[in-house]
Amino acid sequence: MKYRCPVCMFASLPYPPSNYHICPCCSTEFGNDDTDFSHRQLREMWIDNRAPWFFGNPPEHWNPWTQLIRAGLASDVPKEFRAVSFKSSSVAVGGGHVMAFSHFDQNLGLVSVAA
């Protein structure tokens, strides 16, 4: 059984987040660190430190920000990562040939297609 860290949201803790177990991702020692600080405060400290992996090598393709986003904590991602806008058209593939829609300065808005 896997458990989720309530601080960094790492979802593969081998032990429950209690009894002095330490999260390999954010280094929280449960029953110790979280007696002095709330989980939210510990998360903020981890994020302020750029959310590094704590123990050994992280899982392949691990990313702390997608870990938070998937756990519904997108608002905890630093705000400088959030000022993103999508622009222009996209690319279509048909009949084995790559076709690009014409590019526009603005989003194409809404396009409807039927299968």
């Binding site: 750029r50 393709h61 990313n63 702390p64 920000w65 997608t66 986003i69 998937r70 997108a74 608002s75 991602v77 630093p78 400088e80 990562f81 959030r82 000022a83 993103v84 806008s85 999508f86 622009k87 222009s88 058209s89 996209s90 690319v91 279509a92 593939v93 048909g94 009949g95 084995g96 790559v98 690009a100 829609f101 590019h103 989003n107 194409l108 808005g109 809404l110 396009v111 409807s112 297609v113 039927a114 299968a115």
Partner: protein
């Protein structure tokens, strides 16, 4: 054999009951606006929802196969972002298959062209593809205007 009819990136897909999909905000590039003094770390990801929408031609007999649609996102330096996403392709006879691969974040740690690579697997063997398209990412540096500090009047 499944063959691609369309494959696009967009902000949102709304699927109606009559198999008409509305694609909102087709895009080919992203612009990240950050203050001049802020460094974006290489592993940064933005919490933005987007999707890869595709339609596939189906041939008679394809409905008996168990096909998986696989999507991989590559950084401009060709390293992989996140896991490869796999979803089962629903196939009905004589009907094109529509697939929406939903993502809730996009990597922003490198400037340049990200690659969205898609292929079809059957029994964990690639049977079609990959097909791929690029999504460019730019970072715009913005000076933050200083708000003038109002001088306080001393009332004493």
């Amino acid at each position: 054999m499944l063959t691609p009819y369309v494959c696009v990136a967009c902000e949102k897909v709304i699927a109606a009951k009559d198999d008409v999909a509305s694609l909102i905000g087709l895009f080919s590039r992203l612009i990240v606006t950050v203050p001049v003094e802020i460094e974006i770390p290489p592993n940064a990801a933005t919490p933005k929802e987007w999707a890869v929408f595709s339609i596939w031609f189906v041939e008679p007999g394809d409905e008996h196969g168990e096909y998986m649609l696989c999507t991989q996102i590559l950084y401009p330096d060709k390293s992989q972002f996140g896991e490869i996403t796999k979803i089962r392709i629903k196939i009905e006879p004589n009907k094109r298959s529509q697939m929406t691969m939903q993502f809730n974040g996009f990597p922003i740690g490198q400037i340049g062209e990200y690659i969205v690579r898609t292929w079809v697997e059957e029994n964990q063997q690639r049977v079609f593809g990959p097909i791929e398209f690029g999504l460019g990412l730019e970072i715009v540096r913005q000076e933050i205007a200083q708000t003038p500090v109002k001088a306080s009047s001393d009332s004493t």
